[in-house]
Amino acid sequence: MALSKERFQAFADVVGEENICDDPTMMAAYFRTDFAAVIMPKDPSEVQAVVRLCNKFQLKFRPICTGWTGTFQPGSILLDLRRMNQIIEINEKNMYAVVEPYVTSAQLQAELFKRGLNTNMKGAGAQCSAMLRGHGHLDQSCGADDRNHLAVEWVTPTGELVKMGSWGAVGEWFCGDGPGPSLRSLVSSVVPPSTTPGVFTKVAMKLYHWPGPDKYALEGHSPRYTLREFPSNMMARYYSFPTLEKMWQAEIAIGEAEIALELMGFNAAMVAANITTCNEEEMAMFERLSKEVQGPGFFVIIAGDSPEDFAYKKKVLETIIAENDGQSLKTVEDPELEGILLTQCTRISASVRETFRPGGCFKSIPIMGQRDLTIRWAIGAGQAKLPLIEKGLIADDGGGFFGWGVEHGHLGKTEIFCKFSALNPVAWEEVTKWHREQSQRALEEKYFALTMAPEEEIETKIGPALSNYHVWWNKVLEALDPNGVVPDKGMSWLL
């Protein structure tokens, strides 16, 4: 499916021959998809030129940043944004950082720590793009999702360069909405198509205060780095509760008290995954933790700006936990394991060990919504996993799910995984069935409408459940993309 000579040359004239590859053999390296070509532009003007050529040749295109995942159409052009990898600005006073697509969260955060600032580390992991829109361990104190996007520079599907918000109006990045064009609704969708057609070339990310050290003092070797000294103004604990209701009440109270740097509603399996270095160790740890917990729970990190602030937060936390009959997990109180969880969760955001290590594959249902409602749905989705666990088709996590409040609020993220072997077609089939059934249940029982769905379900189920938003979206897309170069009605990923 290589390009014609004429088309190849047109693209090569823009990016240089060393930055385009249309060798069909090599396309397997990228998502095992038969792309027409992979092209690596180096700046917004090259992105614009490539996009215009895609329009001229009527070739669909999709951009990637670090390129963790996504859905791709055979025969399309893949824009690999790897060469756009600079931090443009860290504005300490106005607390934002402007990044290009291939700056990783790990890089940006390391620079921010030196300045007493932080960015939300998305659940996809610190190796993913810092401009990724998403959720993570630090949602409690570092916002989430599109709320962290300030001004954005965007190449539309026709190749126009749009400077959104204050970037368009006054050449500053501090605001995503007016006085320049406010197109937040186009870049912030949390229902399918989820993200924006076209290419983000620069994004200003909102920053937050970081009370921790300018860098963690780590020692040891991979895969077990430990803290030489635990920061005196920080504490990490896992609390379990006798009932889900008590856990939820404690979660609300901690949010309302605004004391947590992080509150992550991990299940015991996820704690086990993060503090261990291999599958066997993880399974043994899960068994141990399952006996230690009294019920559902969450992981909390508190950090003080002064000894007094730390003492206050600790006292409030302990009071809330006691009022809700919570118990601290002794295993996590071990300073070494406490340190591993602290650094793992704040720096890496913990994705690979808890998702891919078991079998190389996972399917997830992530949902943003009112936590008590989504928790109720997740209990059922977790119970529906148990037969798959019994059959040995998915990794045993006790039917667990997880979630957390965002910005100290009642609104939050709830998510549930099935982890399985990439090589087991039966597992794939059964997990897909589980995914569909639980998504359907969410819609039918009025918990929420799924945020990821096949195209046909957007038209027939999700759209109608959400004020027929898809009709509006299709019209917008028609205007943005007159030549049909956006694949899958605009569903594009920023990972």
Binding site: N19, C21, D23, T25, M26, A28, A29, Y30, R32, V38, M40, G67, W68, D80, I87, V103, T104, A106, Q107, L108, Q109, A110, K114, G125, Q127, C128, Y216, L218, H221, S222, P223, Y225, T277, C278, N279, E280, M283, T343, Q344, R347, I348, S351, V352, T355, F356, R357, P358, G359, G360, C361, G392, L393, I394, A395, D396, K419, S421, A422, L423, N424
Partner: protein
């Protein structure tokens, strides 16, 4: 194990890109976050471990197609193992081993890199990885009165290595090593003219059978000396004797103990047999050679079967080599023991050190890329404010010196051995 045996590992790749960066907790800033020279230089995903594993999966499913891009991806890789370490922070799967098998398969399928094939041919013919340029292997030892291990029984055999023996710039390294061993009273000898290449670099070049043939030759000579310990100042030779020979069942520790000179020097220093006296007044940074560090981690013999079910686990459990077992502290202990030497660390060290560029035959197949890789390391070394970069591998030192020569670099470039010889 052949490529097919790693199909399960290759299928485990979730394309997370962790293989491109140092373990994420160790990222200290915007700079020096990358760990793979190949993807850092060439950018396309198929120059990363994840991309190569995906190509391996596709090749096993549909057949291998040796296009120019494919061969470029295959040979523009130092096989330094950094990707392996970073991936295994989170995952249980082999990364470097299947990548090496991809290259071995290419050679077996008749797609050896021409420059590397020449090097291997020279090794088979002359027993040297580098041009001999009319010199003899033991010429560096003339007049030193060292024991000839072919004739006399010795406790320790000093294996010099091809580059150190034949490259004029490195003969002083051999002489300094001999000076240190003599000063410490070690009963050692050399093979001189009879020494032959360890063959390790041939394995990395994809010429597995040539490696095995050469290894047999080398081992026969070593065994004939009766020495119980082999010490070498070459990190590449160390890794070959220590790891590869063990992996392929050619050697075990009871029969022949293998030490790098930094390990022996650290031991001699702790016993007081080596006593550095002269003050050097030097702020240095240390470059961990890949072959002494992560690739030097001892081989773990294991055989098992995948346990059916949801997880990629085995019976008996598979113990993975994750890079932490390399030789990291001995060279640092040696440097700390030298009066006036202050060690300051670079951002990328130990198991996640940036490669100096010469590994995997890249110094022969793509010298420009090898040098670019070394230039990145020099830039990182400069950021520490050190006066000098010190290593423990003549191959790394050679490339760093070449790179420094082209870039007006003010840094001194030394081997640990040279500094110790100056100090005693």
């Amino acid at each position: 194990m052949a490529l097919e045996d790693y199909a399960g590992d290759m299928n485990m790749c979730c394309r997370c890109s962790a293989c491109k960066f140092i373990p994420l907790q160790m990222v200290k800033g915007f700079k020096h976050a990358n760990v793979c020279p190949s993807i850092s230089r060439y950018n396309f995903h198929f120059f990363s471990a994840g991309g190569r594993l995906n190509l391996g999966v596709a090749g096993l499913e549909k057949g291998f197609n040796y296009t120019p891009w494919y061969l470029s991806s295959l040979y523009n890789c130092q096989q330094c193992g950094a990707c392996d370490v970073s991936c295994k922070y989170g995952m249980d799967m082999e990364v470097l081993l299947p990548i090496q098998e991809l290259r071995i398969k290419a050679v077996e399928d008749g797609h050896a890199h021409p420059a590397l094939a020449k090097v291997v041919e020279r090794m088979a013919k002359t027993g040297s990885m580098v041009p001999m340029e009319g010199a003899g292997r033991g010429d560096w030892a003339q007049g030193l009165g060292l024991k000839d291990a072919n004739q006399e029984k010795v406790e320790v055999l000093y294996h010099v290595g091809c580059l150190t023996s034949f490259d004029e710039g490195f003969r002083q390294l051999a002489q300094a090593t001999a000076q240190i061993l003599t000063a410490a009273g070690v009963d050692f000898g050399i093979l001189g003219q009879a020494e032959t290449c360890c063959g390790g670099r041939a394995y990395e070049m994809g010429h597995k059978q040539d490696f095995l043939t050469q290894a047999q030759k080398s081992l026969e000579q070593i065994k004939a000396t009766g020495a119980k310990t082999l010490v070498t100042s070459c990190a590449e030779c160390y890794q070959a004797y220590k790891v590869l020979y063990d992996r392929f069942g050619l050697r075990d520790d009871h029969e022949l103990k293998v030490l790098h000179i930094t390990e022996l020097m650290a031991d001699l220093l702790s016993q007081g047999k080596l006593q550095p006296k002269k003050t050097l007044d030097l702020c240095v940074t240390y470059h961990d050679p890949c072959h002494l560090g992560r690739l030097g981690e001892p081989w773990i013999h294991w055989q098992g079967k995948k346990v059916p079910g949801d997880r990629f686990i085995f019976d008996p459990p598979k113990p993975y080599r994750r890079g932490g077992g390399g030789v990291y502290e001995p060279p640092r202990q040696v440097l700390h023991s030298l009066p006036g030497v202050v060690l300051t660390e670079m951002d990328r060290i130990k198991e996640y050190a940036w490669c100096a560029g010469s590994c995997g035959g890249v110094i022969d197949s793509n010298p420009e890329f090898a040098q670019w890789t070394a230039e990145q390391r020099l830039e990182e070394a400069k950021c520490t404010g050190a006066d000098a970069i010190v290593s423990a591998s003549p191959w790394a030192e050679k490339l760093l010196k070449t790179a420094a020569g082209n870039g007006q670099c003010h840094l001194g470039i030394y081997d640990v051995v040279e500094l110790v010889a100056q100090a005693i």
